[in-house]
Symmetry: C2
Subunit: 345 residues, 2 copies
Amino acid sequence: MASIKDVAAQAGVSVATVSRVLNSHPSVSPDARSRVLAAVDALGYRPNAVARSLRTDQTRTLGLVISDVLNPYFTALARSVEEEARALGYSVIIGNADERPEQQDHHVRTLLDRRIDGLLVSPADGASPLLHEVARTGTPMVFVDRWMPGVDVPVVRADGHRAIQDLVAHLHALGHRRLAIIAGPAATTTGDERVEAFREAMRTHGLALPDAYIGQGDFQADSGRRVTEHFLSLPEPPEIVFAADNLMALGALDAIRAHGLRVPEDIGIAAFDDIPWFVHTGPPITAIAQPTGDLGRAAVRALVDVIEGRPPQSVTLPARLVVRSSCGEPAGGPPSNRSDRRSGL
Amino acid sequence: MASIKDVAAQAGVSVATVSRVLNSHPSVSPDARSRVLAAVDALGYRPNAVARSLRTDQTRTLGLVISDVLNPYFTALARSVEEEARALGYSVIIGNADERPEQQDHHVRTLLDRRIDGLLVSPADGASPLLHEVARTGTPMVFVDRWMPGVDVPVVRADGHRAIQDLVAHLHALGHRRLAIIAGPAATTTGDERVEAFREAMRTHGLALPDAYIGQGDFQADSGRRVTEHFLSLPEPPEIVFAADNLMALGALDAIRAHGLRVPEDIGIAAFDDIPWFVHTGPPITAIAQPTGDLGRAAVRALVDVIEGRPPQSVTLPARLVVRSSCGEPAGGPPSNRSDRRSGL
DNA sequence: CTGCGCCGTGGAATCGATTACACGGATGAT
DNA sequence: ATCATCCGTGTAATCGATTCCACGGCGCAG
């Protein structure tokens, strides 16, 4: 592969001049510039980003460590992150933690070894010493979706409090009283937060939330299955199961189907995260939608602000309830939810 | 951030010795080794991968350019690719083409600029001059899922011929005669191939496949919607719509729902690609499943073979039909498909 | 006419690693 | 005792870029 030396030789100038042309430095004669450009073209020369990074101490690359690539919520996030980053002249390297703290740390370390300019993380684990260390050493970092309490880093996330209140109000209005939740890992802020918001909403509506109705999941489908099995085995099973993410909702559906039960007649279901498929499940699933696109864009902007020395901003955007029929037919009869005419994918 | 010089100073040795310890070169005294290790630990030193790559001319990184991150098939593929690569000591940088040739080329170029050791591509476009060029210059490359005819590069993919034959046989047995297909872009091999296999299977069963029943899609949900609208407006609409990927199936469902039609009573649906949600759609969708995990692993192994100078192998694995109820109840009555008890996500 | 300053350019240092080569000392063979 | 060998180590070249500094030539002002 041709190097800058080859270009310099071909153009009859020094490497310094070639570099100046390539970086559009002002003081280069039109003559030299065109000879360099011609040589670049002739040789199909492309600057070696590795060498350039070594010298300039910047890679124009962002690291994004997401909790799970198989989760449509995170891929939607990843997509908007990459798009915004590209628009700002950065590339993105994605690391998939698979909800496993060791794997998260592995990716963080690898990304740091490659000297990425900044890190976007959705921590799979509230207590990673490595991430604490990273924050302490001043590596530009922004948390997205989840965060770590006590770490002074901008956070970009959606707030589900209001939407969860709306959800419980909706369920209450439909006559449901026994509501259960499949929680995310307590080690994640989103896990905690959603349970707390749910608990609070239940209190607001004068409903009890017994411990038996709080199942411990891990944001993966299997745990949704397991917890739902448990709910169904209770002497008095819940009327509604609310899953704290879409994959656990998938698992819950698996379990319900395995028991030969019908939704919503025998048991209702709702989920945090809205995905295109929820429109077409049997029945369509009531969900809380997050503004993934805005989240991704805001996260990148905050991170780039840190990197380029501007004061960054934490951002919290509201999530919103999307009512479908998985908890019983909303008043007014047959499906008429206009927002569902297109899946938006 | 501490460099190798700092470690050398701290340990009282030269940088060469530090490097030797780090690369477990044999001739280092136990004493020096332990002093270096202590210094590394004290300083929290991590080798700069950028500098290392510049010197050794290898990055131990693979590039993966997929057609669409929002497509669960490709994220499943990406996950298995990353896993296998990690097992072999490589990292993976994912580029998302979004089914757009320019964006694909953008990522290919960026990856090459970073001097990745090898490239895994699922070409969004049959004729990218850039990819031709890359193949010609001998950059290690392997095609996965889709390929480019006439480019001499190993291909790892699933073969759907047999599964499509099985699908048409199944539909024929259910009494369906008017089958339509939503094809992928003709510029992709998978697009072409699936139509051809379908056409052949129709012929085998003595069925006609009029041009009006071949809709042109682009592997995205919107096109599935559009093509299905068209099918439904035909004087004699098809009894079954077969979508060449899962996103177009999603779009088809959107269109069918918008028309207030029921599946499978009014119209049946089947899809290429199986995803966990197909079990829970209303009704569960008959699909052709690809062995994504094996595909990803085989692709990485083939690529690493090329990189490390071993003879690589093209691999073709069979896809298989998974019958559910979206085309009508299979003989034997109510759902009893054991393979659907768990979603496998 | 002289001198100052600017412009275009090249030489060389630099980034942080790896590694070829040289060198001194110890060891073993004769 | 002598010499070859080997081991552990350090010096310095190198990878491919960027960028500081110096230098020659030219234009312009005094």
